[in-house]
Symmetry: C2
Subunit: 498 residues, 2 copies
Amino acid sequence: MHNFSEENSREETSLDPADWDGFRASAHAALDIAVDFLRRFDHGPVWRPVPQEVREALKEPLPVDERSLDRVLADFEANILPYATGNIHPRFFGWVHGAGLADGIIAEMLAAAMNCNCGGRNHGAIEVENTVIDWCKELFRFPSDSSGLLVSGTSMANLVGLAVARNSRAGGDIRKRGLKNYPRTLVAYTSAEAHESVARAMEILGFGSESLRKISVLQDLSIDAGALRAAIAEDRRAGLEPFCVVGCAGTVNTGAIDPLDEMASICSAENIWFHVDGAFGALAFLSDSLRPLFKGLERADSLAFDFHKWAQIQYDAGCVLVRRGDLHRAAFSMRPAYLRRASRGLGSGEDWPCEFGPELSRSFRALKIWFALREHGARKIGGVIERNCAQARYLAKLVSERPELELLAPVSLNIVCFGFRTQRLSAQEADQLNEEIVADLQESGVAAPSTTRVRGRLAIRANITNHRTRFSDLDVLVDAVVAAGRARTGSSTADVAK
Amino acid sequence: MHNFSEENSREETSLDPADWDGFRASAHAALDIAVDFLRRFDHGPVWRPVPQEVREALKEPLPVDERSLDRVLADFEANILPYATGNIHPRFFGWVHGAGLADGIIAEMLAAAMNCNCGGRNHGAIEVENTVIDWCKELFRFPSDSSGLLVSGTSMANLVGLAVARNSRAGGDIRKRGLKNYPRTLVAYTSAEAHESVARAMEILGFGSESLRKISVLQDLSIDAGALRAAIAEDRRAGLEPFCVVGCAGTVNTGAIDPLDEMASICSAENIWFHVDGAFGALAFLSDSLRPLFKGLERADSLAFDFHKWAQIQYDAGCVLVRRGDLHRAAFSMRPAYLRRASRGLGSGEDWPCEFGPELSRSFRALKIWFALREHGARKIGGVIERNCAQARYLAKLVSERPELELLAPVSLNIVCFGFRTQRLSAQEADQLNEEIVADLQESGVAAPSTTRVRGRLAIRANITNHRTRFSDLDVLVDAVVAAGRARTGSSTADVAK
C-alpha cells in the first residue's frame, strides 16, 4: 500500500482528530441521529429489506485513503441505519430479542471512551463487572463464593457451564489429557425442546452431539422427568458415565419450563452436574409472581442467561454463574508468564475474568448492565417481564377468539405459537401458508413474528420480550395475520365459519 | 420484589425516557464527558489504583428502585471513569492493547441505537460484517470463497480455527460422535513461545493440552522448523495423527515471527491444517515494508487476528478467516426449526454468522471496524504500525545506550524486552527488582510497561501498539526505568560504570 521510509515513519500523527472541536461537533450530530432514531422507533416499518443498490454501495474494496468523518457518518445514515434488525420496534416478535434501552447509547459511548480490556488486571471496569456478578448471585440466591462471568450470550454461557461440568467430573487431568484418554464415555441430558446451543457446546467440547440425550417432553413441552431418570439408569447400566443434566428455564420454541426442582433433586441423588439454560426465562426471577414457576433454578450448579433479552440491555450481554467458584476457576485458569499476577500495580487484582472462560480480550460489557440496572431498578424491569407474560396470555385469547386462528402450544410464559388454518389445506399446504404469512407481515413492516415447528407443524411464533410492546400491538398483529391469511387463501370469515 | 396484579401489569410504561428532551440533554452531557476524557488522554496518569472507598461505593446490593439517569452518570464519572485500564494513554506499553479511536465513540453509540443481533437473518448489520470480512480477504490475499467471522478476539478466533481444523480432519462424524470414538489420537504443534490461548483452545475442544506439542525455538525465538518436522515424523511413527500446526505471526512475548512460508510448505506436504495466530502481527500486512516478514501467512488455512490491537479499534474486535468457507460452515452450521432460513423476509439471507462459530447472540462489532477503516484508511493505519516498529528499534537503541539497561530479546517487531541490571544482584534478585520497577512505574502513573519471562529471566516488556505513542514517550520510559532502578538499588551511574 505504501512504503514509509524510516524518516517518514517518525512523523508523529496519531489517529486522533486533528481538530477536536470539529470532532466534537460531528459526535454531537451523530448522537442526535441516534436519539432521533430511537425516539421514532415506531414511526417506520419494523423491518425493511436492504435494497440491492444499498448492498452494492456497501461492497467497496478495502479503503486505502482517508475520508472525512462526516462523509462516513452520512454513508452510515443512508446505507446502514434504516436497515436494522428491527428489535427496537414494539411489534418485533421474532426470535428472542430484547428491544434495547435509550441509556444503552450512553453506556456504550462511555465504555468506548474508556476502551478497557476486561480480560483481567486491576482497574475499575473489573470492579464494575464484579458488582454486576454480585447482583446476579443475589438475584438467583447463589452463595457468595460462587463465581460468574459476563459473556456474549447463552450460547457461550452454556459452553462455559458444560466445560466446568466436564472438568469437575473428570478432574484436572482432562485439561491435559483430553477426552480420548478418559477411561469412560461421558454423557449429558436435556429436553428434546432444548436450544441447539446445548448440542453445539457438546460438539465444541469434543463430546459429540450424540453424547447429549434428548429426553422426551410432556404435553406442556417440559421435560419428562421420569424419562430422564430412566435414561440415566440405562446409560449407567451400559457402562457410560452421566455427568450433566441441562434444564430449560423457558424453552426457545414455546417458553416451556422444565421441572427444575425435581431435576435438581435427580442430579443431587445421582451426583450429576445440574446446568440450567435460562437464556430469557431466568430473569423472570425478577418477578415475585413468576419466580415460583422456576423453583429449583436456584439449586443449579451453573446457570446461563442473557441480559440482552428480558433485561432489554444492548447486544451483547450474557452471563454464566457457577455455584462453586473454585471449580469454575479450575476449569479455565491459566497463568503464563506474560499474564503473571503482580502483587501491586496494574498487573495485580484478585480474580481475572480470563481465568473463568475462554476469552482474554473482553469488552466492558458490564457498564451497560450497571447503567441499566441502576437507572431502571430490578422492580421496573420485573414489571416489564410480567407485562410481557400478560400480553402473551392476551394474545392467546385473541387467537382463541378468531375462527381462522389456532393455538399450537400452551402459553407458559411469553411465547405464543399459533397458525392460520383453513379446512381446505393439507398439513403441508398449511405450513407453507403460515410461512408466507410471516414473510408477508415482515415485508409489509407491520409486525415481525418468526416461525418454528411445534410437534411437526409450522407455527407462527410471537415472542414478547419487549418493553415497548403495547397490548394494542397484539391486536394489530392478529388483524394482520388474519388479513394476510385471507388474502392468500382468497377466503373470508364466512368460508372459515362453514 | 413486587407483585403486580394483572391490572397493574397492563400499565404500559416502557423503559424509555418519560422525557426524551431531558434524555437528549443528559446524553449530550455524557458525550462531552467522553470526548473530554479522550482529548485529555495524557493529562493524567497512565493508570491509578482504584481507591478502597471507591471499591466500597461500587459494592451496592442489586438496585431495586429507579434512579435518575443523571445520578447514574454522576456516579460513573466519580467512581468508574478515572480508573480505566490505561491503554488510551501514549505511555501504556503493557500487554498488547490498542489505544482506541475517537470515532469508536460514535460507532458504538450508533450501534447501540440500532441494537442489532448479528447472529443471522437478513438486515444491514450482516451486510456490513460481510463487507469487513471481504476487506480482510483482500488484505490477506484469501480467495473469494473463503469465509470469516468477527469474534471477541484471537482467543476465540484460535478456538474457531482449531475447531474447523478438527472437523476437517476427522470428518463430519466428529460433531456427532466426539473425540472418544475417533479411532486415532489427534495432535497439534506450535512454538514454545506461542500464546496460551492455543493450549486453551486445545483444552476446550477436548484434545487436552498435552496433545499440543510445544516445539523449541531458535535464537530469535521463532519456531525451529527442523524440530517441527522431526516432531511430526515421530508422532506419525507412534501412530498418532498430526492434524494442525499453529504458526505465530508475532509472538506475545517478543514479537518473534515464525517462518510461516516454510511452515505452510510443511503442512502442505504433510496434509496438515495450517492455522496462524496473528493476534497483533497479522495487521502488519497493511505495510509494504513489513509484509515480507510475514511471507506465507497468506497460505494459512485459517488465520486469527485482532482489530483492537494494531488497528486501534475499540474492544472487543477480533476475526477469524478460513480459506475454505465450505469447511468453516461444515464445522459449525446448525439449523434448528426456530432458525430455519426463509426464502424471503427477515428470516432470509445467505450465510448467517451463527453458522460459522459458537455464538448466536452477536453484537454489531462490524460497525466500529467499518467506521475506522473508512475514516482512516489502510494506508494511515499501516503507517502507525510502521512507526510503532520504528519506535521499538528506537527504544532498543536507548536501552543499549544505558549502561544500567540490558536488552533481553531481539526486537522483531514492536516489543522490547529489557531489564535493569546491577552486578551486585543474583538472578533472582534482579527478577524481583525488575518486577518492582514495573510496579513503581505503573503506580507513579508515568508509564505502564508489563513483565514477562524471556529464557527464564523476568523482563520489563514494552509493547508499542499505540497510535498515540510519540518517540519522546520512550525517552520518558527509559529515564523512568533507570530512575526507579537506581532508587531501589541506591546505585548511581558511577556504580554501574565500575
